[in-house]
């Protein structure tokens, strides 16, 4: 379990994270979604005690991170897969941390096998690793202490499609066994595929927070017509508020019936009319991505 309340961080005179509050429950994967530079990494750094918030606080497993005993045994952290000494062998990078946490050295080989780094890969120096291999090493490192909580910053970066599928299964299993997973991504579809809950951050603020179902279904009706301008006019004439999504499609905060009637009254030919199923979320996310930081 992770709880953040009112986390605020100013760096270089700019407020990077502003009044961020959320919870990550055990048994669930919480996706932390936002465009690059939205404050995801800074928030995660505050949670694991690498950065001191200017206001607000956070707890992991109901304690301030700094007072947790041997936190590596309770919380697995992967903030940057490239943050490994390039001159150290992959296996040694894990072995050093195992020694630090007091983990049985045998676990190092178990985890290397689990993440799919074979003997020859484990013997290589990290300098020779591809980003995908570093990411696997980083996941092995996060799992090394057999933790209850995982905090992962962009864990899918650099993984190939097979690797991404493998990682999803791994994190799903971890959560199903009662673990808490908190992972960030700047890609909506990536988080959609795995997260039970979504926390969306834009420009340092939380803009949406809820279960995946809530966020994906809450946004009304997706409608598309042969003539986009005529459709928009017809919807406005019926006092509806169409939000343009992409290539002539609109999301409207109304039932499919109300939207259908408005189109009929305006004499517009519809080619698509259905509950939006996340189109609203997508639009929200596009707005975040496009607005200058």
């Amino acid at each position: 379990m992770i709880e953040a309340s009112g986390l605020t961080k100013r760096l270089g005179g700019r407020t990077v994270v502003s009044d961020v509050s959320f919870r990550c429950e055990p048994g669930a994967v919480t996706g932390f979604l936002g465009p690059n530079g939205a404050g995801k990494t800074t928030t995660m750094r505050m949670i694991v005690g690498l950065s001191t918030p200017d206001a607000g606080s956070s707890t992991v497993l109901e304690h301030d991170y700094h007072v947790l005993e041997n936190p590596g045994r309770r919380i697995g952290v992967l903030l940057d897969a490239s943050a490994q000494h390039p001159g150290r062998r992959g296996r040694e990078a894990l072995a050093v941390s195992a020694q630090m946490m007091g983990v049985d050295p045998k676990r190092v080989d178990e985890l290397l096998t689990l993440v799919g780094l074979d003997k020859s890969a484990a013997r290589k120096r990290v300098r020779q690793y591809s980003l995908g291999m570093r990411q696997r090493l980083g996941l092995a490192h996060a799992l090394l202490g057999d933790p209850e909580v995982l905090v992962l910053d962009e864990p899918a970066n650099g993984l190939d499609p097979e690797g991404i599928r493998w990682m999803r299964r791994l994190l799903r299993d971890f959560a199903d066994r009662g673990g808490t997973v908190f992972l960030s991504s700047h890609l909506l579809y990536e988080v959609e595929a795995i997260a039970d809950r979504l926390v969306i951050i834009g420009d340092g603020r939380i803009v949406a927070d809820g279960s995946r179902e809530e966020l994906l279904s809450g946004a009304g009706t997706l409608v598309r017509a042969t003539d986009a301008d005529a459709l928009a006019a017809a919807l406005r004439a019926a006092d509806l508020d169409p939000k343009h999504v992409e290539d002539g499609a609109f999301v409207v905060d109304a039932t499919t019936e109300a939207v259908g009637r408005a189109a009929l009254d305006g004499g517009v030919v519809l080619v698509h009319l259905a509950p939006s199923e996340g189109a609203g979320l997508e639009q929200l996310f596009f707005e975040l991505t496009e607005s200058p930081a």
Partner: protein, 240 residues
Amino acid sequence: MNPSFPRLTGVELRKMVDTRAGFWLQLIVAVLTLAVVVLVCIFAPTDEIVFRDFFALAITPASILLPIVGILLVSSEWSQRTALITFTLVPQRMRVMGAKVAAGAAMALVVAALAFVVAVIANLAVGDEWTMGFAVFGQIIFLLLVSILGGIAFGAAFLSSAPAIVLSFALPLAWSALGIIPWLDGAAEWLDTTRTTAPFTEGVATATEWAQLGTSLALWLVLPLAIGLVRIARSEIRAS
């Protein structure tokens, strides 16, 4: 249970030798220690060399290279960004720094033991005077400790490998140049560590010599270490 201090010290010792750079650096220290003594045995007139001289000689490569080991022990955590891992596993940053200082001291003692063995063998082979004295023996080991701790202090003050290493070599050179200016010569007697440490390998140091060494170490060891510890305690540990 938090990792114990001896455990953390063991980890820091391991980190000194488990990277490619660290491994070669330690190997070079060992090889040079051996080489410098062997070369003197073969080529220098040995009739006036006593055991103390062999020991002081054997320790020379280490006293030049151990500062780099000390610098890298701290600065590489930032240059290679492993600080991200180290300080999430042990959020009490001063415990980690304490372990680094202890590991540095342990490494200095290991190297001193190696130099001692090399010096004993050399003296058995070509020397016959076993002149040493406990005081000088202690002083030489003390200097070695100070050299690696000075490296740790520089590494901590800069949190970056290149400037720390360059400066730790440039400073003694700068002093020897500045010492030529008469009115700076007096200051150099108290602040130039090359000069303040020199008497300690030759005989029992006087009170004035200790005071001069202490003053120079306050400036080049205590001050940068203090600056570094404050920086590390307060700094943001960045991902990139």
